[in-house]
Amino acid sequence: MATFPEYITQNEERDGVRFSWNVWPSSRLEATRMVVPVSSLFTPLSERPDLPPIQYEPVLCSRATCRAVLNPLCQVDYRAKLWACNFCYQRNQFPPSYAGISEVNQPAELLPQFSTIEYVVQRGPQMPLVFLYVVDTCMEDEDLQALKESLQMSLSLLPPTALVGLITFGRMVQVHELGCEGISKSYVFRGTKDLNAKQLQEMLGLIKPSATQGRGPQPAQQPLSNRFLQPVQKIDMNLTDLLGELQRDPWPVTQGKRPLRSLGVAMSIAVGLLECTFPNTGARIMTFIGGPATQGPGMVVGDELKTPIRSWHDLEKDNAKFMKKATKHYESLANRASTNGHIIDIYACALDQTGLLEMKCCANYTGGYMVMADSFNTSLFKQTFQRVFTKDVQGSFKMAFAATLEVKTSREIKVSGAIGPCVSLNAKGPCVSENEIGTGGTCQWKICGLDPSTTLALYFEVVNQHNAPIPQGGRGAIQFVTQYQHSSGQRRIRVTTTARNWADAQTQIQSIAASFDQEAAAILMARLSVFRAETEEGPDVLRWLDRQLIRLFMFHLRRSPFLQVFNNSPDESSYYRHQFNRHDLTQALIMIQPVLYAYSFNGPPEPVLLDSSSILPDRILLMDTFFQILIYHGETVAQWRKAGYQEMSEYENFRHLLQAPVDDAQELLHTRFPMPRYIDTEHGGSQARFLLSKVNPSQTHNNMYAWGQESGAPILTDDVSLQVFMDHLKKLAVSSAA
């Protein structure tokens, strides 16, 4: 066996799983002493181009409370054609189709390399993908134009059979009927009145599914499309024209007022429309917002411009009068959507806040995307949006719909909860821990939208009692069963089964310590922190956080926008936290601790410390914070650039130097989703603040003279530097109070 790092990498690549501990303490008592719980980051759809989907359905344990999937860890009696469930020890007969099974003729699911395996469900109709555009029309013409173009472009990216629909909103909400000849029709709703699905169904004149089924097989196909959701291939031109004719909301906006934007109702109608037409079918509600909702349910700010939108300050003082009500509204929408397996994406492009704080649950509960930009007329939005429709090598969208994740555990361990873009399905079972962490109390979660990087943090609890030792060599197993709708319309089931060794902490503390995955642990704890910061209130949480974080040495996390709201609007915090909660380990790490590369004539590009001391005049720095890609030209370099040396052939090397970080940045930009903000700045430039706010303030105006060093750039901040933090940490570490 290779080293733990290799083992971890291998496991991650194969199963998309990383545990905080790779050898588990064998009793509850020992586990709790270890502060960081046994937990894992699980990426259900981690890309496995080499994994061939299996064209049959999984074999399940026959015990009603178990239903685990046959996996390589099961013991198989080839002669008796029996297999023993490794979770509940139930002995099961193989189904008739496995009659030919033998040691040499094993089905794929029994091969160790198929610890992760994907089945294709053959039954049931193939469901179309549904994309419902919900478009704000209260925006500048320029923005609207850009948005319209993006939307028109997106039509060409959709599979021809995908159903699309269009809802526009401003003061009113319009549901557009598609494919009308000679006249364009839309249903209009008041922006101030919420409607439930039944009302909506009546008002839109949608035929109840039961009514259509009576008409025989032919009509049975019809529910697949209706007047509002039709196949792209059919209404491509029509919709393109329709989008082209979209006008700014015509209702006059008087001076000193915000336009009336019925976002809450528009989303409600979108959810309702899908709810009564395509329940439990993968669908994306793509919401494009040019500003905050200003009327009706879900409004986050009044239409008086003199009243600014709520800030953290207002929230603390409980001075945001719309916040609670709006949040409640969006939460209920998010719950409805997630119940039906629908995704809500939010593309909010405005200079001011748009209410992401209130709407975050829509994306968070449904696995939707949340994208924040300044304008629809920016490459950030345009490319991000385009990237949503990225396809994999098989030509399928890199997205999956309406997934449920079920976790099955060995008896010694139970699942406490999950943190990520999911909602609980409230499935009680033997492997559910009473101790909830994150979204707990269940062993099944719904993840309406999944992409290959969607990662959940799962927390476990070792329930084995100290006095019930586990036999030597025993292994704890965890099975992740993810059922989802593939973008091809197939239902698939991906099963990942992993196992880790038990170890007695008293005797094998060394091996446990060695199995610690500090990166995974950092992210897992960070998620937990963010979750608590989001969901709980009051000083207690902050104190808990501080105590935990200090004990966890997580200096950068403490300063990150995920926890630190200073300098961020509530919307931004929501946005950052949303991204942090769904991305995989690598990207999450970048978010916590940005990566800094230095380019100079002194040698090849090198990663440097995220420290103010790294900022030198003759360097070009490339910082990747996940959300921003920043190129910073040191003072000297900037002067050279200004002088135009890069234009001169004799300074070609300088031109190369300038170009190198740009190329690297492009590469990052191309792969990242959402598209980061790209910043090109220099010493003294206003945007250099993004860099300065991230680096460790080892030199500040308080200590630069004391240090007396010439290098680096002092940061004007009162934040403690890593040095101070470390000093404090050391003091705490040795004190018994910890």
Partner: protein, 1183 residues
């Protein structure tokens, strides 16, 4: 009736009756006798008077003579085609008191004190009546008989049954022709006729002519004054005897007076008109009807023979009379006197009272004396009388009821319809009389009837096309008003369309300060403002407050105290004009936006299937070019919008920049809103292509619809919200088919329950089913949103509820039950076109200011009132009339009269804010007689119908009917008691101006609304009820008394015939119009040639009863018929679909429903029966 009365009368007068009535008549002719008999009856009644006279007069003879005279008169009337008479009536009215009086005066003055005496009597009401009677008598006297008849004419004597019939119907036409020789000749040729005739003729001639002349000549005023005076003197002189002598023309009048004295109690003059007519009728009846009359007349003449001389003298006198047009005119005066007619009997009674009729003759002298009175009486009366003549005959019938009274007995049995007052006669008389343009300058002058074509010259009072009053001479005190029970009301049609030869109201701009108004009562500058202090101030005619004249408006006064620029300024010299309103008069102090028209079309299954949707859409494409505009050169500024709906609403964006229209569906009907702003209301020219594309597509889109449910409340809400959003006023055109049962505000349920009819709960069927629409209507009014509703129901749609909003917003409801594209398209489209094109004012507020003493207390029409004074109309179009009732709150003065100013503030269709002002001044009287002399029955009926129909909302139908009958009975009883000369209780005495009141009232009572037949749906009743509410007088008149034209004669527009089956000839073709319906009735034995000319087929059986228009055939007859039909349609605000009714076809039932003088299938009384009933009521009140 009179007959009856006569008897009584007789008794009073005692003696003669028998003698007179019978004698007279008897004498007249064997044949006549009967007819006359009735008359005689009356006569007899009169006779009482006569008796006295009798001696002198030789009652019998008188009777006879009178008859002749009457005849003559009648003949005149008849001869004149009754026109003569009508004119008389009309003339009389107009002459108004003043003229008549003058004449009377003249006559009197000339004549004798006798008049005075008559007048003398008048002083007291009774006296007046007496005088009236006297007058009548006199009138009778003029042609001694005539007068008597005249009076009789007024008086419906039961006796004259026979005559009646003959007189009117038969008489005029045929009898005339036949008997005519005498009669006709008589009338026209009065002079020519043989002596006997002469006598009559004289009268006739004199009468007719005189009447007219008198009118003209008569200075209304004089009469009255004279009358009064005379009375006293007369009273003294009263002695009929003198009358007898009086006979001479002048005398006649005088004589009357005398008679009056005796009658004094019953002012003959006044009574005459009405009643007289009664008697006359007989006479007339006898005249016309009976060829015999002639003969009889002869006979009578013979009697006259003796009379003749007198009569002859009369002739000579006639002139004098004529001057008085005496009889007639006198009656005119009678207007005040009118009553005299009744009295006449009485009055004459003295002279010829007994057989007033008869007597008259007998008392030529008296007559002579009477003449004057008659003049008065006749003047007015006559016209009527002639008519009445007929009526009377009818009365005889009454008499019949009353018959008990001696005279009538025989005749009374059965009233001859021809003897009762004939609407046609009155109408034709008025037409003949109204040849001159009507100048509004004279206060208190009643205009010609609505059925008459006349030109109006605005000389300081509003044209009758704008304002018509029930009374042009209002009682001075509330007590009088209460006593008479005559409603004081005005029917105002502020934006009425004027004929091309009349100038529309001028637009006056008083500059930035806005119109000049009285400081206190805020009345607008008008001719009633008195400038004082050299023109620096003006005193308000309404409240007497003195206001400074703004410097820019100052002008010097001339020596008469008038401003020198008086005739340069419409507001100082005209009755109607407009002010340009300033921003102060605008809502929110903002100049209004141009109005918008929104078309809301039902596209549910029924609407599509009936073809309505298709028709509307097709029509709109062209119709939109005819939106109202003030300047024909310019494009209309009215913007348009489109909505379709079933259970949801579809709005359309037709912005000019769009390549294709956009449909916006609002399915949330529970809380209506307008889904778009820009592009909903557009200029037609700019968006023409998009609109046309839309209108092409709407029928296609919904061609396959299966939706049958509709909403209604949200539809109006949608239009309202759209107007609100656009911040403008406007009009909604809603095309709707069914009961709105879809779940939405204003949802209705089917509550049609025939079992409720006749119960106390019936009223609830006329009320709105839900309160929602009342609230909605209020909101609409606040926004200036007028709603016009076109209904295409196949079943009950609850018009009572759906109509609430249209009715409250000044809109109209059109109903096309069982709409079929093929047959109803024309009617619907014409209605729609007219409705869209007609001029309309928006967001209007109307206020009626009055001079001290009276007050506008109640308003009827399509509008909304949030307080007690301001009539708010979201929309006011040129067809809408508002009826205003006035009540006294103080004493009025005869000197200043009563003034009213109706000011309507509205937004024109070009978006201009304006004030239209109509001023009206009427006289005031301290004598009831004057009131009765200056009434307008058509207007009264308009008021009564609106009053009653509104009453339905809160009272059981029966109570409403009873109230109506009761009030009319009181009116007539009051007249009888106070204005008519005493006569037998059995006599029905009607005021000249109101002699048609019973027949019209009966029509109101028989209308579907108040007395529904089994096949009349609740919707129809509610529809009609609402429709009447905003009708003006011409429309309500023809609605209640349809026009029935015989079409089988060639020549110019034929004279209408009465609405009775008896008048239909099997061989004829008739056209009947009600303003809503148009029937072409084809007699079963119509000539082939006729049919060929009209229908292109000679066979009766081949006529297609489903025709809705006549085939275009190239013959003059066909052409003329089509022209007539077109002209009818052009006169009405709603297009009348032609329905061909073949005699004895099923559809004849419907047609018969409109023969309002007959018994109706639903139990409505015939005219004759009703008249009898009315008489009974009156007698009850009197006893």
């Amino acid at each position: 009736m009179n007959v009856n009365q006569h008897t009584p009368m007789a008794s009073p007068y005692g003696q003669p009756q028998p003698g007179y009535g019978q004698p007279g008549f008897a004498p007249v002719d064997g044949g006549y006798p009967a007819p006359y008999a009735p008359y005689n009856g009356p006569a007899s009644a009169y006779q009482p008077g006569p008796p006295p006279q009798g001696p002198a007069r030789g009652p019998p003879t008188s009777g006879a003579p009178s008859a002749p005279q009457q005849y003559s008169q009648y003949s005149h009337s008849q001869g004149d085609m009754q026109n003569g008479p009508p004119p008389m009536t009309q003339a009389p009215p107009r002459p108004a008191a003043s003229q008549p009086y003058n004449q009377g005066a003249v006559n009197l003055s000339g004549p004798q004190p006798s008049y005075p005496q008559h007048y003398g009597p008048q002083p007291s009401m009774q006296q007046v009546t007496n005088q009236m009677t006297g007058m009548q008598i006199t009138s009778g006297p003029p042609t001694p008989a005539g007068p008597g008849y005249g009076t009789f004419g007024w008086i419906y004597i039961s006796v004259s049954q026979p005559p009646v019939n003959t007189a009117y119907s038969a008489a005029p036409p045929h009898s005339y022709t036949q008997a005519p020789p005498p009669a006709s000749s008589a009338p026209t040729q009065p002079p020519a006729p043989s002596p006997p005739p002469p006598s009559q003729q004289p009268f006739n001639s004199s009468l007719p002519p005189t009447s007219q002349q008198q009118f003209t000549s008569h200075a209304p005023p004089l009469p009255s004054s004279q009358q009064t005076f005379p009375p006293s003197s007369y009273s003294g002189p009263a002695p009929t005897p003198s009358h007898a002598p009086a006979p001479p023309v002048s005398q006649p009048q005088q004589s009357f007076p005398p008679t009056q004295p005796p009658f004094s109690s019953a002012p003959p003059p006044n009574s005459h008109p009405a009643f007289v007519s009664g008697p006359p009728p007989p006479a007339q009846g006898s005249f016309q009807p009976r060829a015999p009359p002639p003969s009889s007349q002869p006979g009578s003449f013979p009697p006259h023979g003796p009379m003749p001389p007198q009569q002859q003298p009369p002739p000579s006198q006639l002139p004098p009379y004529h001057s008085g047009a005496p009889p007639p005119r006198v009656q005119m005066p009678p207007t005040s006197m009118a009553q005299n007619n009744h009295l006449p009997p009485g009055p004459q009674g003295p002279p010829g009272p007994p057989g007033s009729m008869q007597q008259p003759p007998p008392q030529p002298g008296i007559q002579g004396g009477y003449p004057p009175q008659q003049n008065g009486a006749f003047g007015q009366v006559r016209g009527p009388q002639p008519g009445y003549a007929g009526p009377y005959p009818g009365q005889p019938n009454y008499g019949a009821p009353a018959p008990a009274p001696a005279p009538a007995p025989a005749a009374q049995k059965r009233l001859d319809p021809d003897s009762i007052p004939s609407p046609i006669q009155v109408i034709e008389d008025d037409k003949a009389k109204s040849t001159e343009p009507f100048a509004t300058g004279v206060r208190g002058q009643a205009p010609p009837l609505v059925t008459t074509n006349f030109q109006v010259k605005d000389q300081g009072n509003a044209s009758p096309r704008f304002v018509r009053c029930t009374a042009y001479n209002m009682p001075c005190t509330a007590d009088m008003a209460k006593q008479s029970q005559v409603p004081l009301a005005a029917v105002i049609k502020p934006l009425a369309t004027l004929p091309p030869d009349e100038t529309p109201p001028y637009l006056v701009d008083h500059g930035e300060g806005g119109p000049i108004r009285c400081n206190r009562c805020k009345a607008y500058m008008c001719p009633y403002m008195q400038f004082i202090e050299g023109g620096r101030r003006f005193q308000c005619g309404f409240c007497s407050c003195v206001t400074e004249v703004p410097p820019h408006y100052f002008q010097h006064l001339d020596h008469t105290g008038k401003r020198v620029d008086c005739y340069d300024r419409p507001e100082l010299s005209l009755g109607s004009y407009e002010f340009l309103a300033t921003v102060d008069y605008c809502k929110n102090n903002k100049i209004p936006q141009p109005p918008a028209y929104i078309f809301l079309i039902d596209v549910s299954y029924n609407a599509v299937k009936s073809g309505m949707v298709n028709i509307v859409c097709q029509e709109l494409k062209t119709l939109l070019d005819y939106l109202p505009r003030e300047n024909p050169e310019m494009d209309s500024v009215v913007r348009v919008g489109f909505v379709t709906y079933n259970k949801v609403l579809h709005f359309y964006n037709v912005k000019s920049s769009l390549a294709q229209p956009q449909m916006l569906v609002v399915s949330d009907v529970s809380d209506m809103f307008v889904p778009l702003l820009d592009g909903f209301l557009v200029n037609v020219n700019e968006s023409r292509l998009v609109i046309e594309s839309l209108l092409d597509q709407i029928p296609e889109m919904f061609a396959e619809t299966r939706e049958t449910e509709t909403v209604f409340g949200p539809v109006i809400q949608a239009g309202l919200e759209a107007l609100k959003a656009a911040d403008c006023s406007g009009k909604l055109f809603v095309f709707h088919t069914s009961l709105p049962i879809a779940e939405a505000p204003g949802k209705l349920k089917n509550r049609e329950d025939k079992k409720l009819i006749g119960t106390d709960k019936e009223k609830s069927l006329f009320q709105s089913q839900v309160g929602f629409y009342n609230t909605l209507a209020k909101e609409c009014v606040a926004q200036g949103c007028c709603v016009d509703l076109f209904l295409f129901p196949n079943q009950y749609v609850d018009v009572a509820t759906l109509g609430v909003v249209p009715v409250s917003t000044g809109g109209s409801v059109y109903k096309y039950t069982y709409f079929q594209a093929l047959s109803d398209k024309e009617r619907f489209l014409n209605d729609l076109r007219r409705d869209v094109q007609k001029l309309v004012g928006f967001d209007a507020v109307m206020r009626v200011r009055t001079s001290t003493g009276i007050r506008a207390t109640d308003f009827f029409g399509s509008f909304f009132m949030s307080n007690t004074t301001d009539v708010e109309l979201a929309g006011l179009d040129c067809d809408k009339a508002v009826t205003v009732e006035f009540k006294h709150d103080d004493k009025l003065s005869e000197e200043t009269g009563a003034l009213m100013q109706c000011a309507v503030l509205y937004t024109s269709c070009s978006g201009q804010r304006r004030l239209r002002v109509h001023n009206m001044a009427v006289n005031c009287c301290s004598q009831l007689a004057d009131l009765y002399r200056n009434c307008e029955t058509d207007t009264i009926i308009n008021f009564f119908s609106k009053y009653a129909f509104r009453g339905l909302l809160n009272n059981p139908t029966k109570a409403v009917r009873d109230t109506l009958i009761n009030q009319c009975a009181q009116i007539l009883a009051c007249y009888r008691k106070n204005c008519a000369s005493p006569s037998s209780a059995g006599q029905l005495i009607l005021p000249e101006c109101m002699k048609l009141l019973p027949v019209y009232l009966n029509c109101v009572l028989k209308s579907d609304v108040l007395m529904p037949g089994a096949d009349v749906s609740l919707d129809d009743r509610a529809y009609l009820r609402q429709l009447i509410g905003c009708m003006d007088v011409p429309e309500s008149h023809v609605f209640f008394y349809p026009r029935l034209l015989p079409l089988f004669e060639s020549g110019s527009l034929p004279v209408a015939v009465r609405d009775s089956e008896e008048r239909l000839s099997k061989g004829g073709v008739y056209l009947l119009e009600t303003g809503l319906h148009l029937f072409l009735w084809v007699g079963a034995s119509a000539q082939q040639e006729l049919l060929l000319n009209i229908f292109g087929t000679p066979s009766f059986s081949q006529i297609d009863p489903s025709l809705t228009s006549l085939p275009v055939l190239d013959n003059p007859f066909s052409q003329r018929m089509r022209e007539i039909i077109e002209s009818f349609r052009a006169q009405r605000s709603r297009y009348m679909k032609l329905m061909v009714v073949k005699q004895e076809d099923k559809s004849e039932l419907i047609f018969r429903h409109f023969l309002v003088e007959d018994k109706s299938a639903s139990g409505g009384a015939s005219y004759v029966d009703f008249l009898c009933h009315m008489h009974k009521e009156i007698r009850q009140l009197l006893s």
